[in-house]
Symmetry: C2
Subunit: 416 residues, 2 copies
């Protein structure tokens, strides 16, 4: 039986508690939406001042060399690679997750076009994050080569959906809504038994759960830096390509940044060796530079400790909600099994939208996802056990008093 | 005959001189590379502090609504549209120029695929900026539908290259190397006589020369905000689609930001009405927000005055170089004819690279472009007549003394 005192005791023993002071969080807020937009590292403002006032304002064009702007995608990519089991020159930070999905899907389809030219099926989950599905749909419509999207309703149906017609399996490692986490190594091995290539979207896993792309023998991966990596709003995304595939194909978003010698101004595209061929155009330097502030904190944390704390906090959150809020129509959408749980917890509630607005008004910031899902991101780098206790007490109060049932809490905003 | 005094006199009469104090420029520098990376508006640092410390740090996820992050691409696009003869809901600021070229090329080919399904030629210039050519090559290679790139060596050859096999004509309005400016209305009319769709890359014209996309009856345009618009290093680019084409096709980089109701989390992509269907993924908010600082200055300037001053400054620069540096092997690469001149001036010199490095070491920052081209961006918002005089005097001194001929000035850097 947990108490607030036992939570404070757990906080006092937490080896990651030393990292919380590196983040700026507003007073009166318990932030449970770091899986949507991570909190601000305190170093971010000084870094932006340096980039804007010194590198841009004084260095001007020279900063592409002197401030190493040109190397940012690779340098940050190499740092990020250490969080996902990737080696140097396997990751670049660039563009958006959606665009990196397009590049990896184009590459995977091209590789399969050589090996298995008749395969025309791309498999994903109906509950995958929509942009993953939309990018597949855009590619299919563009190519006009008879590709089809095959969607499964449950992870357990995946194996049945994989057959000799399938070219590519594109999955989110951790589901954005439920928090279900695939066994990357097992699913990849299953796909490979059928000669299917895999693309993993790590948006909801990088920085939150251990990822070992090399160990899983994965093929392609993409992901996001503005969630658990705390890179800043809309910060550039990343792409990883297994070295065995990397130099076999140039991806079709073949802008000058991916050229082997961009400043030769050659007429013919010639892809760079290595992962830089997955670059396209000039990158947003200020947003890109800020990614490093969050990355450096993540690299300072022991990922095994992060995972241990994440499971402890999500266990605590589930246990407290079920104990303290019993009698209210909350249904757990997140797996109880540690092996398949990511780092956020979702409960559905028939009035989920209004309940979340009431929580936010009380300073407990989670988010809402259709349909009816209250989503709570559990970020071990800056959340503690007492935070979880306090959040659940506020949820309990809102449900017990029915204070969610106000007109203002039912008004939909553009971004929910 | 110009003198430094006559230049100072011209500066004292310059109606745009009031804008120079809005920019931060380092002491001792004459900045002639604003066509590569524009100078820093002094407002940029305060804006970044607001976005990082307040909107991100305090507002956190709520800022997508409360700080209107979600609307940034449209709001900035509408502002930018006023500089290029576009109406509201015709422009979004997003992604990179290269990616926006891909979207517009996909849309143009699809439109032609309905109207003229046998046309398989895309025309451009051999001297177009390489990324434009590389993106075409990437698209051709991806589609595998028999498309071909037809390149012309001179603008005068364009008309001969346009025939009933041509689907799309993709040109830079102002050439990145020579500063040659196409007559957009005349070229578009010529293309349309042959039922060819046009894509204009405005990277070297927006903010520097008058652009009237509606008046030219153009089809598609893309461009860059980090050059003459002073949006910051690698700031997001823009795309414009003529209203008559805009809603006829959804472009294949169909990420969730282009969806009509992104937060419904629907499985099927349904494009937004209007120009937002040309969005793809989540945008880099900090870099994006800074674009507004530069845009606001550009909108405060009278574009006719900008053009008048640009021509006066480029005339002066050409006249002074030819007068003061005569006897040195400098060859003008930029048109003398005002009707076809953009806002930068290029001279070739057999030792162009070393001469430019010597200039930069003396605080005259232009840039070098293969082969042998010294490129000088003339930015009327923050350059004056005496700046041009002083720059040419330093060039003259470097050439007269041969001080460019030092080993350090021959060492190539990653980005030249």
């Amino acid at each position: 039986m947990q108490t607030r005192e036992s939570c404070l005791q757990a906080d006092s023993l937490d080896p990651l508690a030393r990292l919380k002071p590196l983040f700026s969080l507003p007073p009166g807020v318990i932030y449970l939406d770091g899986n949507s937009l991570g909190a601000m590292p305190k170093a971010a403002h000084a870094r932006s001042t340096q980039v804007i006032e010194q590198e841009w304002g004084v260095g001007l064009i020279r900063s592409w060399n002197t401030a190493h702007w040109f190397d940012l995608p690779s340098r940050l990519g190499n740092k990020l690679g250490r969080l996902i089991g990737a080696g140097d020159d396997e990751v670049v930070v660039t563009d958006t997750t959606s665009l990196n999905l397009f590049k990896s899907l184009a590459a995977a389809l091209r590789l399969q076009g050589h090996a298995h030219p008749n395969r025309r099926i791309i498999v994903s989950e109906r509950d995958n994050f929509p942009t993953d599905l939309y990018m597949i749909q855009g590619m299919i419509d563009l190519l006009q080569q008879g590709y089809e999207l095959r969607l499964v309703d449950q992870p357990a149906q995946l194996e049945r959906a994989i057959d000799a017609d399938v070219a590519v399996l594109l999955l989110s490692h951790v589901n954005y809504r439920t928090g279900y986490m695939h066994d990357m190594a097992a699913v990849t091995a299953m796909a490979h038994r059928h000669a299917v290539l895999t693309i993993w979207d790590l948006a909801h896993s990088v920085g939150a759960v251990p990822v070992d792309l090399a160990g899983a023998q994965a093929d392609f991966a993409v992901g996001c830096t503005y969630k658990y990596l705390n890179g800043g709003p809309g910060a550039p995304a990343f792409i990883w390509v297994a070295p065995r595939h990397r130099d076999q194909f140039w991806q079709p978003l073949s802008g000058w940044w991916g050229h082997s010698r961009p400043f030769d101004m050659a007429v013919e595209y010639q892809p760079a060796d290595g992962i830089r061929r997955y670059l396209c155009g000039t990158q947003p330097v200020v947003s890109m530079a800020l990614v490093e502030c969050g990355l450096d904190i993540a690299l300072d944390a022991d990922m095994a400790q992060v995972r241990e704390k994440s499971l402890a906090l999500t266990d605590l959150f589930i246990a407290l909600v079920e104990e303290r809020c019993q009698g209210h129509p909350l249904t757990l959408a997140t797996p109880r099994d540690h092996r398949v749980r990511g780092s956020h917890v979702s409960f559905s509630h028939p009035q989920g939208y209004a309940v979340m607005q009431a929580l936010i008004a009380r300073g407990v910031i989670g988010d809402y996802r259709e349909p009816n899902v209250l989503r709570f991101g559990i970020t071990p780098l800056y959340l503690g056990f007492a935070d979880v206790w306090d959040a659940v007490e506020i949820l309990k109060d809102i449900l017990d008093t029915g204070s969610w049932n106000q007109p203002a809490f039912h008004q939909r905003t553009a971004v929910t």
